[in-house]
Symmetry: C2
Subunit: 165 residues, 2 copies
């Protein structure tokens, strides 16, 4: 059930807006919070799905798609692949995080869902993938859906303890 997440997240954002003067700082901090959640959520995801190593970025996209379903109860479409195959988007028709949310005029610049970008970045870093993630379209800004972009940067070195493998 994602209703509790929606409400708790709304309370969190409201609290941060109250504390930080700058909307951009709130957006940044939401991404950072997401990153910190991602590096913990990945463990839970791997344990629950017994999933193996990703073959390629397409495979990675599919697995993140299933994580959306597990944790937010929605399945976004994977779309808008770059020609080079190193970038893609998640398209959400409905976004539990923003259900019933309306941004007042002075918060129009807030990247309300930046936590999702952070979660993706943090979770992937834990499986040796360095990515960037950002919001391209946003239903809170009047777009018809929410689009979250993911760009593969590089594979990180495995840190295998000496004596293992």
């Amino acid at each position: 059930n994602s209703e509790l997440v929606t409400l708790t997240y709304g309370a969190l954002v409201a609290q941060m807006v109250k504390d930080l003067d700058n909307v951009d700082d709130v957006s940044k901090q939401l991404e950072r919070l997401g990153y910190n959640m991602g590096i913990r959520l990945i463990e839970d995801y791997l344990a629950k799905t017994s999933t193996g190593r990703c073959h390629d970025l397409k495979d990675t996209a599919d697995k993140i798609q299933s994580a959306f379903r597990m944790y937010l109860g929605v399945q976004p479409n994977v779309a808008n692949w770059s020609a080079a195959g190193d970038e893609f988007s998640f398209i959400l028709d409905t976004n539990p995080l923003t259900e019933l949310v309306e941004l007042p005029d002075d918060l129009k610049a807030l990247k309300y869902c930046n936590i999702i970008c952070g979660v993706i970045r943090g979770a992937l870093e834990m499986v040796q993938m360095d990515v960037q993630s950002w919001i391209v379209q946003d239903q809170l800004k009047g777009d018809s859906n929410t689009e979250i972009r993911v760009k593969f940067i590089r594979r990180l070195e495995d840190a295998i303890p000496a004596g293992e493998d």
Copy 2:
């Protein structure tokens, strides 16, 4: 899945601790946040369960028990009824909200789970029941389980629009 709730709630509490000097103020504000969530969660609960009016407090306790299962993924025991039948407790052996949480010494007085008390109070108020709710035992304080007490205060007047019944 409650993992995301755990992490989001942890971030929320951390944020509030950072902002408010006083631990008691954080506890109070968590209860108030819970109250605000409860008055919205009840709608979701009623819609999803198609549940009817509660016959008595025993019935109310059972329904809140099922709400715990729906939203937090745990089923607490209902126990410790008062002789007058107007008070009871939820006993949680495991509490998703506190999983992996440890309170530092300067926060030992924090009622970390006060949001749950607030949710119960807010949700019940929306179905015309005025209750008090507070934490009796707390695993975060070294108790063997978490006990949340609920005390029935009074039934609120139904506000039925004229012409309806």
